[in-house]
Assembly symmetry: C2
Homo-oligomer: 316 residues x 2
Amino acid sequence: MRITVLAGGVGASRFLRGLQAAAPDAEITVVGNTGDDITLHGLRVCPDLDTVMYTLGGGINESQGWGRTGETFSIRDELAAYAAGPDWFTLGDRDFATHIVRTQLLNDGHPLSAVTEVLCQRWQPGVRLLPMSDDQIETHVLIDEGDGRRYVHFQEWWVRMHAAVPAQTIVAAGAGEARPAPGVLEAIADADVVLFPPSNPVVSVGTILAVPGIREAVAAKTTVAVSPIIGGAPVRGMADACLTAIGVETSAVAVGAHYGAGLINGWLVDDQDKEAATDPALAGIEVRVLPLYMRDLAATAEIARAALDLAAELSS
Amino acid sequence: MRITVLAGGVGASRFLRGLQAAAPDAEITVVGNTGDDITLHGLRVCPDLDTVMYTLGGGINESQGWGRTGETFSIRDELAAYAAGPDWFTLGDRDFATHIVRTQLLNDGHPLSAVTEVLCQRWQPGVRLLPMSDDQIETHVLIDEGDGRRYVHFQEWWVRMHAAVPAQTIVAAGAGEARPAPGVLEAIADADVVLFPPSNPVVSVGTILAVPGIREAVAAKTTVAVSPIIGGAPVRGMADACLTAIGVETSAVAVGAHYGAGLINGWLVDDQDKEAATDPALAGIEVRVLPLYMRDLAATAEIARAALDLAAELSS
């Protein structure tokens, strides 16, 4: 079976572990969000790709969900001593090594997809990990801290400001002219099922869908999505702040309807949101109700299995 | 008093500490060798400048003489896991931070002299540290390992091969078209005395002198040099391999004569080399015999004091 997954970072990585457990023989392609990518200290950082790679490759800091296990922070301390660059985005030494290798390969002219393949040769994540695009796309957020409106990089809003300043607009800068990375459209077209993990529907899945051609390719397939909203709140992170910015309510129903019957065919919601099953806003989408907290690998595999079962049912 | 010092790495840094102790009120300008500089993992590494900066700024690994104290090696281990780049030049995490800051500033368009000034704002070495040039000069070594002659970067010959393969030629690639960094010629012209520490006469002091204009500027001044050769052997490092490559014997007399009376006025040699005082090869150079091992700060300050005393005598 061929499965293609549109993935953000932490939530997607946990879901992918469950998916690997539920479908050990499947060929899984992960199309990773690169809208969160940022150049820090002259090095290119791809938080979502790395979180998938580290998680599935066994290098993740498990309790934190991102970053490396056994991490040291000498460089962070040194950069602070030099008063060099932003201090609100902490990178560990082990993580820095990944960005050093990536940046050198990029500067040598290799596209991000090729660089990601090189990095994955070490990590062996057990999936094919593709960036959504080799073209630079960066999510920027329009804010007003009281001294006029300005755009900031998504990471500055998310990490430095903890998304506490309301986002007036969220844009995927560069997406309009970007092309999907080599293999992305084929991986979607050739998939038996396309899955959306419980990733941020705006700045993760939404950004991937903003790359011209990807939305249409997904719409042509049997697609099942897992709600990242349970009981009116994001399971993790501050997706509510992103949803508010695009005028979507933070509810399982509203996010399912935002994706829409033209894009997704199946929608998994948590027991807390069982009324979604009969909500007219989700007409045309098959809704399944089940426990959606990814408490452990077994629970996560159950969710993945339900998504695959629903996809099989919808395809038959 | 104004003192200008042409400096390599470890030996020069130790001498400079002694000089600061011997002449606490002097304005010291250090013209640092950049011929050892190398780009590793996409980052610009300046070993000699950093050794001076770390030593005088209190960050050096004292027992080793180079690199940072309290160092960690996460990045080295990670790069090995990625099989990325040369593994024969070990950089610690703290040291990497310096190269990250330097590379970002260079890539932003700042010349090395300005970048060095920024780095020294943190380290406060108590001297003005200038690279010999803002233009890229790299020492390359012609070798033959039995499969034909080829040039390798000085660091590959020095660090990877431990200079065990004979050097057929040593060239300062780029020196011919280089210009001294801003302030270098002025610092030499305005100095009351120019000193050569016991640095490598070929790939440290020799490379600095290869930058057009510097040799002539030094020749016009009262210059006192400290022999890096004691009893027919280098005190530290493999200067003998470099001297052999340029056809100079590894002796205090031969190195003094290699600098020559047209360049230096005074020459400090160790007690073991007292016969140099009357060697006709050193005609025109005032030779002083004294203990030259830099065993501790007090002994090193004595050497620096002897150099300054000789310079005062020669200038009067």
